[in-house]
């Protein structure tokens, strides 16, 4: 065998390495109850979880190439599937997700789902018994879920579409995008940006440095807070909202219906600004100290709006 030929064979072999490294194939299914509790654990890779009408649990695809097998048990209304990994680190952020498992999992519509991963992207849709999707470095994509819903990542995007129930979405550095949510909604981020178009009755949003943009319809209770970040909240079709907001040096900008009926109390403790575009009332400055304060009422004052800042901005506008 000539030297160039050997090199060519070697290079071809190296190019084929990912195929060799692909994990064990899996194709398993179990009969389960309509309201089965389903726990899935997969440390790396891509996992798609979809709801089906049949009372079956099935998992198809390939396991992580470093997996040491898997565990699948189903008894007493609880089904558990875990890809067994050696006890070591799972790689860092931006590690190639193609190195991990690639799985499609089907669960009954009425099941209650719990997924946990580390360097994993996860998507889930159509599950109505509640879902908790947790990863560390990866994306979370949730669509048409119902019940108690918790979506969490540290680094990665969270996309939530048409979910309803008690929804809690949290990230440290990732971005949150929510559309069409209903019920109650909690959104938390340290550094990431948050946007939501929601008709949830109750909404809470908390950011530290990140920014928030809320476009709400019919929301009756809204709470938001930031440290340095800017939050813009616009509410339509809410005549007597209960709103509470605070910031340290960040900005709180609120847009309400022109015919809103509420009592307003706005306060800037130490150097902040208050800009009232809702009525002609102006903030007054304390005789001693840097405090500014504004109280007024619109309509018969049925709702309640309290916004405070230390040195940030407060802005009120009408649609």
């Amino acid at each position: 065998m000539t030297k160039p030929f050997k090199l060519t064979v070697l290079m071809l072999a190296l190019l084929q390495a990912p195929a060799w490294a692909a994990g064990e194939a899996i194709d398993q299914s179990r009969n389960v109850s309509a309201s089965e509790k389903i726990e899935i654990e997969n440390m790396r890779g891509e996992v798609r979880i979809v709801a089906v009408k049949a009372n079956t649990f099935s998992v198809k695809g390939t396991l992580d190439e470093k997996a040491e097998g898997y565990e699948l048990t189903s008894a007493n209304g609880v089904t558990r599937f875990a890809v067994k990994m050696p006890r070591s680190n799972f790689g860092g952020w931006n590690s190639d997700k193609q190195e991990g498992s690639d799985l499609t999992i089907e669960v009954p519509v009425g099941s209650e789902l719990k997924f946990s991963g580390v360097n994993a992207n996860v998507s889930a849709s159509g599950i109505e018994g509640g879902a908790r999707l947790t990863t560390v470095n990866g994306k979370v994509d949730a669509e048409k879920l119902k019940g108690d819903i918790a979506l969490e990542t540290v680094n990665g995007e969270i996309s939530s579409r048409d979910n309803s129930g008690r929804i809690h979405i949290t990230t440290v550095n990732g971005q949150i995008s929510d559309k069409g949510s209903a019920g109650t909604l909690e959104l938390e981020s340290v550094n990431g940006e948050i946007s939501s178009q929601s008709s949830a009755k109750e909404v809470e949003l908390e950011v530290v440095n990140g920014e928030g943009q809320l476009d709400l319809t019919g929301t009756e209770r809204l709470e938001f807070s930031s440290v340095n970040g800017e939050i813009r909240a616009a509410i339509k079709n809410s005549k007597k909202p209960r709103i509470s907001a605070s910031s340290v040096s960040g900005a709180s900008r609120l847009t309400l219906d022109a015919d809103v009926s509420a009592r307003f109390e706005l306060e800037a403790s130490a150097g902040g600004d208050i800009d009232n575009g809702l009525t002609s009332d102006k903030a007054t400055r304390a005789k001693y100290g840097p405090r500014r304060h504004l109280e007024f009422r619109t309509g018969s004052g049925e709702g309640n709006v309290e916004i405070s800042t230390v040195s940030g901005e407060i802005e009120l506008k009408k649609h």
């Binding site: 680190n89 799972f90 860092g92 952020w93 580390v118 360097n119 560390v136 470095n137 540290v154 680094n155 440290v172 550095n173 340290v190 550094n191 908390e206 530290v208 440095n209 807070s225 440290v227 340095n228 605070s246 340290v248 040096s249 306060e267 403790s269 130490a270 001693y288 100290g289 840097p290 405090r291 309290e306 405070s308 230390v310 040195s311």
Partner: protein, 171 residues
């Protein structure tokens, strides 16, 4: 046999407070074993005290403010203000101790997980924000909203650190 009334009369003749003839404490203290506490107890104590102080404090404030306002004399406000200021000082001191301890423990972590490499900067942001609120509290020491904000920042910081440690264990 003495009647109940006679006994009551004799009891009434006794001194209202009875004291031992000598100081009993030195003998008692010698018989007590010295108490040793693990080092982490002090840290837990500080954390628990900080949490309890921050937890109960804002709930007490409105009542205290009402009492102060309903007092008949203007001078009656001063002791209340002093109490508020001292509570604030205690709370701030505990928060600082807690923060210093957290920072010390975080520095012992072998590996900082992805997404938390700038944790010192993040903590600095919270500390700066807390300083701003404390400055505002200097003008309005009994403002419950400011105290709630301070409490929220503390909670955010604790959650962040808990998440950092949890992520470090996972990855």
């Amino acid at each position: 046999m003495k009647t109940e009334q006679q006994l009551d009369a004799l009891i009434a003749q006794l001194a209202p407070a009875l004291e031992p003839q000598r100081d009993l404490w030195p003998e008692l203290s010698e018989r007590l074993e010295p108490r040793r506490q693990p080092a982490y107890r002090s840290w837990l104590g500080v954390a628990a005290a900080a949490v309890l102080t921050l937890w109960f404090w804002p709930q007490q404030l409105p009542q205290e403010a009402e009492i102060a306002l309903s007092g008949p004399l203007a001078g009656g406000h001063e002791p209340q203000a002093e109490t508020d200021v001292s509570l604030l000082a205690v709370s701030q001191q505990l928060s600082r101790q807690l923060g210093e301890e957290q920072t010390r423990q975080l520095k012992t972590l072998q590996q900082i997980p992805d997404g938390f490499s700038d944790w010192t900067q993040q903590i600095a942001i919270w500390n700066k924000a807390q300083s701003q609120i404390e400055l505002a509290l200097a003008f309005q020491p009994d403002n419950p909203k400011l105290i709630q904000q301070l409490q929220r920042l503390q909670q955010q910081q604790l959650n962040y650190i808990a998440k950092l440690v949890e992520t470090s264990e996972l990855t």
